[in-house]
């Protein structure tokens, strides 16, 4: 019997937030010493499933068994105690502590000396040494301060810490996101060692080439359901992509015909930001929607705001805005130069929750609503109502607090802000993140309409279907470089495939 029991068996897992189902009857299993890649597009339910496994979320239904025993983790500490450890995408180490201290942080070896319990530094050091040797990283010294290590080495310390805590199931969420290809190879080396020690690894990544290199099995989720499980060795990339993205053509993006591109609005030559972007060049014209797709860590999260100016003065870039030389400097300067910017994190960076819809719309260009010394509330209202109607923002009126609006309607407000004379270029990060399907379609339709009215629209998104669906032209960003350009009508799978720049798999 023992041979047939998987290390981890999740069965019939269900979860919904409010009335929105996020996971429906999901099954997932991992054998001892097996590496299973968990794949799915944004919102497919990967991270929710892993948060349920590691005790961060409760589940609505289903069972979880570890080595055949049913478990029910009330919090992450209970999961860790049972040997289930999540390594989040953001590395969490204590920079001012030594490698050894970091590794034994959760369970410091103690000894009694001078009548007091003290940390047994000698034991800690020697056991750290053993662990690092075992992982194949004798080069990392236990006494080094962690802040002196490279990002990849910090990752390794984190993995060593999980092993010191007797982890049997390790969940790695995009472990190579901030790493170079060389450094990523180091992580793979460790994962192979872990396998030898019968540790099970659940590997979450968007990078297909990595997944094919390191995993034994691939489990795919789509829209919160199982969409297929594949043995890595006898599977083609195309099969996995089809399972991830589906083959149905969405009418979500069927929102009107593009116009003819007009004058060039934006021209970027050789934009570089150390460790984030390298030699990015592209152009964008009036009446055009240009989508840039990139996975987390590809630079897609910085490119838009860098151009807008939100990252401060850019040293290395040659940017022209409507034919004029333009140097990104500050958000304020970008705004005054005629750029509108909609940030990815709506709650943190977009709306001012306690203010009304009217105030949120009027805020960036408040001076235009002044009559003499005072702001004319009537003018603000008139302007707000015009765009509430134009964009179909569902609100009781301009005086409603924006916090009480749905995500989609808040997003429309964030777009409405920039629809004033003088703004020619709209830069939108993740324009439909956290927006329900109905509102998504409306937002796509409106972006098309705005483009046809003469705006140049630049979209930066980690949602490959969105970029493929709405763009007149799409570019693919991978590890800071532009690696592909596609005309309107390209398939999401083609864009996704462009990110896997490993030649061994590009044939698929």
């Amino acid at each position: 019997m023992a041979t047939n029991v998987p290390r981890l068996g999740m069965h019939g897992i269900g979860k919904s937030f409010g009335r929105v189902p996020v996971l429906t009857h999901v099954d997932f299993s991992v054998e001892p010493g097996e590496v299973v890649a968990l794949l799915g597009s944004n919102g497919a339910g990967k991270s929710t499933l892993m948060k349920i496994l590691t005790g961060l979320y409760s589940r609505d239904g289903g069972t979880i068994r570890i080595d055949g025993e049913e478990v029910d983790f009330k919090d992450p500490a209970a999961a860790v105690a049972a040997g289930v450890k999540l390594l989040p995408q953001e590395i969490s180490v204590m920079p001012d502590m030594t490698v050894a201290e970091n590794i034994f942080l959760g369970d410091l070896p103690l000894k009694r000396s001078l009548g007091l319990m003290q940390v047994d530094k000698a034991t800690m050091r020697s056991r750290s040494r053993e662990l690092l040797d075992q992982l194949g990283f004798a080069t990392i010294h236990p006494d080094t301060l962690v802040k002196r290590l490279s990002v990849a080495e910090q990752r390794i310390v984190e993995i060593a810490r999980a092993l010191a805590g007797k982890a049997r199931i390790l969940v790695m969420d995009e472990p190579t996101a901030a790493l170079t290809e060389q450094e990523a190879k180091m992580i793979f080396r460790i994962i192979r060692r872990l396998k030898e020690n019968k540790v099970s690894v659940i590997y979450i990544s968007h990078y297909l080439s990595e997944v094919f290199e390191i995993s034994d099995r691939i489990a795919v989720l789509r829209d919160g359901r199982n969409a297929g499980t594949f043995n890595t060795a006898d599977t083609k990339r195309a099969e996995v992509l089809a399972a991830m993205l589906g083959n149905t053509v969405d009418d979500l993006y069927d929102v009107g015909t593009p116009g003819l591109p007009g004058a060039e609005i934006l021209n970027v030559e050789n934009l570089s930001i150390p460790r984030k972007l390298e030699g990015v060049s592209f152009a964008l014209r009036q009446n055009e929607i240009l989508g840039i797709f990139g996975l987390v860590g590809s630079g897609v999260e910085v490119l838009g705001r860098a151009l807008y100016g939100a990252l401060g003065p850019l040293k290395s870039a040659d940017v022209r805005l409507a034919g004029q030389s333009y140097r990104p400097q500050s958000a304020r300067a970008g705004k005054l130069a005629g750029i509108g910017f909609v940030a990815a994190e709506r709650k943190k960076e977009g709306i001012v929750a306690d203010l009304t819809v009217r105030e949120n719309i009027a805020l960036p260009f408040e001076e235009r609503f002044e009559r003499g010394l005072f702001v004319s509330k009537d003018e603000e209202s008139r302007h707000a109502i015009r765009w509430i109607e134009d964009l179909g923002i569902r609100t009781r009126g301009p005086e409603q607090k924006i916090r009480t609006l749905s995500g989609g309607n808040q997003q429309k407000v964030c777009i409405a802000r920039w629809l004033v004379e003088g703004v020619r270029l709209l830069i939108l990060e993740e324009p439909t993140r956290g927006v329900d399907v109905g509102a998504r379609r409306e937002i796509y339709g409106k972006l098309r309409e705005l483009a046809n009215r003469g705006y140049a629209v630049l979209i930066l998104s980690s949602d490959v279907e969105e970029v493929a669906g709405i763009s007149d032209r799409s570019l693919v960003l991978d590890r800071g470089r532009l690696v592909g350009e596609f005309e309107r009508g390209a398939k999401p799978a083609e864009l996704m495939a462009a990110t896997g720049n490993d030649p061994a798999f590009s044939a698929a």
Binding site: E349, D354, L355, P364, E366
Partner: protein, 331 residues
Amino acid sequence: MAHSVETHATGGARERMSALLGQPWSGVAMLAIFYLILIAVFSVLSPFFLTLRNMLQIGGNVAYIGLMAAAGTPLIIAGGLDLSVAAIAGLTGVVISMLFGMGVPIWLAVALAIVVAAAIGVVNGLFTTRLRLNPLIVTLGMMSIISGIALVLTGGLTRPLMVPGFNWVGSGRVVGIPIPFILMMVTFVVLWVVMTRMRFGRYIYAAGGNAEASRLIGIPLEKTVIILYVISAISGAVAGTILGAMLGAAGPTAAGSQLLTVIAAIILGGTSLNGGRGSVWGTLLAVLILGTLNNGLTLLDVSSFWQDVTRGVVLMLAVSLDQIRTRALGE
């Protein structure tokens, strides 16, 4: 999970409650009711309380505190905090009396003291915005520096400040209303107009409501906050001037003990310490409530030591209320 089920079960009552507490006027209305109850209670307990004379007395006494609280309100709404304001009031009296002693005309001395205060405000503002230091630490340090300087300048002694025209500002009346009270009310009205009718006011609420979003839509965040620190510092200087004129003397520590009252009034008035929410009218009511409490307890012959205790209790109640309100509004 169990938690969210519970909230759903009692959702109806809670929603109504939070809708009520979420109304912008609900905090101010609650304060007004509390104020009226307070007046009613003291009127019953003391025959001297509810007289025009005593009411005006309260108004005059709280005015210098109200001035500082009025200016502190938009600052806290914008996400700042000024703990040095009462120390600035103390230093101002000292500077005026010393300059006057050196032969500087009294009104020029006042003007110079205000300029000094404004400079202190600029320093507070620059440290908190450009260096992104915590305002609590910066202005606490500034408070210590300023009260230290005031003590050094005077050797810890109180200096006389008797100048007929000048003292009138503290104790004079126009149609029976104390001049300090008039100054305070004018300040409240002006700030109210600025905060609700001017572009600068929009920036105040935006800066405190979501600093990152404000920066990303190109609002001059730093400038807004620095100006508010300057306004707060100037309010300290005016408060110090009024106090010196009222007392006919300038003591280096004259106003220092009122810092707690100033902050207590702003928070009791419904301004969120997290920024983004609040109004000057709430602060005004809170100032009157705290002043009335002091006055009433004095009339009832309660030791002034107990008044410190009451003020502390009221402050803690107010902070708890603010927290409950924030939660009711929903995370």
